[in-house]
Amino acid sequence: MNNVTYNLKYLTIIEPLGFLYGSAGRFLSPENLVGRSGAKFPPSSTTLSGVFAANLNDDERKKLCVAGPFWGKTERVHEEQNFYVPTPLNYLVKNGQIQHKLHWDDQKKGWYDEEGNEPADKFDKSTWIPINQWDNPTTVESPPWRFTPHLHPRLAQDQRRVYIEDEDTPAEDKKGSLFLENAVEMSPDTCLVYLSSQALESGWYRFGGEGHMVEITCIELNHYLQNLLKQPIENQLALITPAVWGSNRLSYRYPVHNQKEKSITPTQQTSDTEYVWNTKTIFTSRAHPFRYRFGNHEDPTRPKLLSRGRYAVPAGTVYVLEDSLSQSWLEWDESWFPREGVSFKRWGCGLALPIKSLQTSG
């Protein structure tokens, strides 16, 4: 195994020039009108990694590591490198405010708030906190983007006119001359933010599906962020990016020591699977599909290959461990990450920060 040390040194800032692309899964077609339900935003780090891969040489590409997605208020990102990361799920948000910070109670084996209660209300989902308040967040933001259905003319491939089917088109290829894109509009003065090991030259790039243009700027991480990323994780951590754990066949909620595929059979998987962490508990939500398209820089004309479809533990997931890891994410062993061609660590999978503000009582 070639153990590459990834480092996250830059902040990659993506400012949309107009709409962005917001669909996931299969492309729209008559039999796959994913529409609204296929909405997915912001683009995962694999999307940005495609932009990098197209612009780096082989050596640089091998060392590439990208993590995200995050977002920020453009001015604040440039000035003070402050941006927003997913709220840890044990912070319960309502009406734009953190109402409770739950902590794990070892004796009662449950999550409780400051007063020892179990809040049973419904709380806001998909909120974000500023990274410069990581240790003690007080403000919460909702995402600054909204989905806008956007009808496009389908252009003929060889002419500059709208594609019109003729009578000879076989029924199964009929598409119509319009298609619906689930475009994303970001509010002005906000941008997408990713962490990366390499820098791209500032400029305009195509980003995400449908070739939408964005302006990309890379700046070096300041000391606060560098230190935050290097802080060793003890026994409480929260993910700020989705984590893919498991074997090639199954995705899990915890990292496993990646064994040879054949030793994991469906019936025995639990007994055979060796978890990396001795976990007391996790606070998580349902699985999110995670897949990407392989770049093909040798022959860009060939259709891009789909990666294996996997499931990710969502960002915001909180782990409470029996034993201290004493390692920052950057130092985590690559064998904890699935590997197919390259290690999933290079997509910043499961980028985690320590949670200090929570006290385990008992």
């Binding site: 009108l33 529409g35 449950g110 029924a171 689930n182 090639n248 199954l250 290959l305 479809g309």
Partner: protein, 626 residues
Amino acid sequence: MAKYTVITFAPVQGFIEKSRKLRDLYGSSYLISLLSWVICQRVEKLGYKIISPASTNVTQGMPNQMVIKGKLSPEEIIIIKHTFDEAWKCLVYGCKEWIEKNINQWEYNYWRRDWKLWVNHCWEFFSASGETITQARNNLNQAKNSRDWTGINWRGESSTLSGSDAICQPLLGESYEPHSYDYQGEKKIIREFYKALSEQLGEAFIEPREELSIPELVKRIITHETIINNFFDKIVNFTIVDENEERRLATRKDFMSIADELQPDSFRDLNRHREDSQEQKYWTGWFLGDGDNASKYFKSLAQKAPEIEEKGLKTFSQQMRRWGKNLKKNEYTFLEEKGRMIYAGGDDFLGVLYSSNIGENELSPLVPYDCLRWFYSFKSEVWHGEDPKIITASVGFVWAGNQVPQRDVLQHCHLAESSAKSTGRDRIAFRILFNSGNYLEWVCPWWLLDTGEWIFEVENQSSRVCLPQELKVDLEGLKQDNLNLIESYGDRSKTLLQDGGNWTHFYQDIATLESRHAFNKKVFSQEELTQNNVIVSNDIALSLINIYFGEKWHKIISNPNYWFNRYDDRELLTFTGILGDPKQFISDYTPENYPQLIEHPLVKQALNNWVINLGKIGFYLTDKRQ
């Protein structure tokens, strides 16, 4: 001290949502009911009593949370989980075997492993116990915080229905290398396979161009009578159903009812986007709703003794089960033959409105005005009827364009329902969903639409929500003519809606005034709001109400006392205001802030928007043409 156990499984919403056809919705809700039923049967066999859901011998419309009297031992939980797993396995393998036997041009050498993975990893199963029902529920929520899923990875193109998971096809599992994937080759087999399935089952079950994953295929096939019959045979051997005990248990007839209901010749599926279809495509109306704040109601019970909590929950469950069963059984009466109920389980319900009967089995497509008028009596007749419910209900109604995919329609139903909930509950959100994906929305408390509500007496203890005395006085004049807000509309020549009144008059005024920015700003900056230096006026909006809906409605809508929800000291709703919960506008609202509240720019803006949206949505909803 009494002890209780709660059992549930997941995912439910996610499972139902992955639907393309009406059949998928029926199939998935039936499957979930069936699995709940299996759990209940096992629990009762172990000698425990089930508090909720009541009437456990009905296989349809079962909610998926079981509240059991008594503390089950870990061994007993394992037995129940085992039964649940076995039942799911029977269902999945029933489908697999049916395919292998009936679509026999392939050797199914490779796919065994994938089916097995779906047998083992489809569901998350949770259980918890406590001294009281509330405590057991809290413990269950604690358990659910960690979830319990295992993801099944896949290779190649994804199901066209969910956009994730492998497409079920004869060579599934042959190779696991993404790099060696040959889509064109696979596509050919997929086409042949689904064509063969479609020929065997009929297009009502599967169309030749579909590409489904294993669980999606199971949902589809499970509604076939052979499969259900087969399942019943297996489950009889399975110890939880004992032929001798049949009077207590669901009979084969109960099981088969879904197959009868969905028989291709009797089941008029709404084929929503068939490309080759000659039949015209129509807009359809979808409604999704559930009871409001059931959990707050349970919480209020929990402050009493466990026995009272138990009794309250049981009564509640009985009432909801009765309602759901009747609704399903008498859907033709309830829906006036305009559509079908897809499920009504617990306090959840989903239905579709799409046609009206014009005699001898002739159906004609529904016009939006038919749907609107059906909702005029929803709360008083469909929800409460002769058996007034303890809680109110919120509904999301979506009038969807003929090209909108079913999954999107369902998502919009959820979003509309959550609009109704988040603006204050006990109301309906109307959404017009265009083929382009754009939509219009208007949210309205029931009492403005449902004149049946106005005679709903306070004396009736089962509902806490009632109209304030002063509002009753205000409604008095309207009550004589039974005119709700919409029907009070009179156009410029004072013609009422029922006499052919033209909504366009109101709509055009709104559009013109809006284009001239007559309704003030749309967006406020944080500074403007905190410094309180924006002034929004409701004069124009309220004048329009006066002109088109008359003085009586103007008096009601302009009265700030009717704008906001009122709650009792246990936080239970006592009156439903037009704009809903005051905390939407001032998050730390207390009654002392009332003067600030009614002058708050966001409140004034909300009222303006409410009138604007009424104008816009009414334009579509009062349409009497097809």
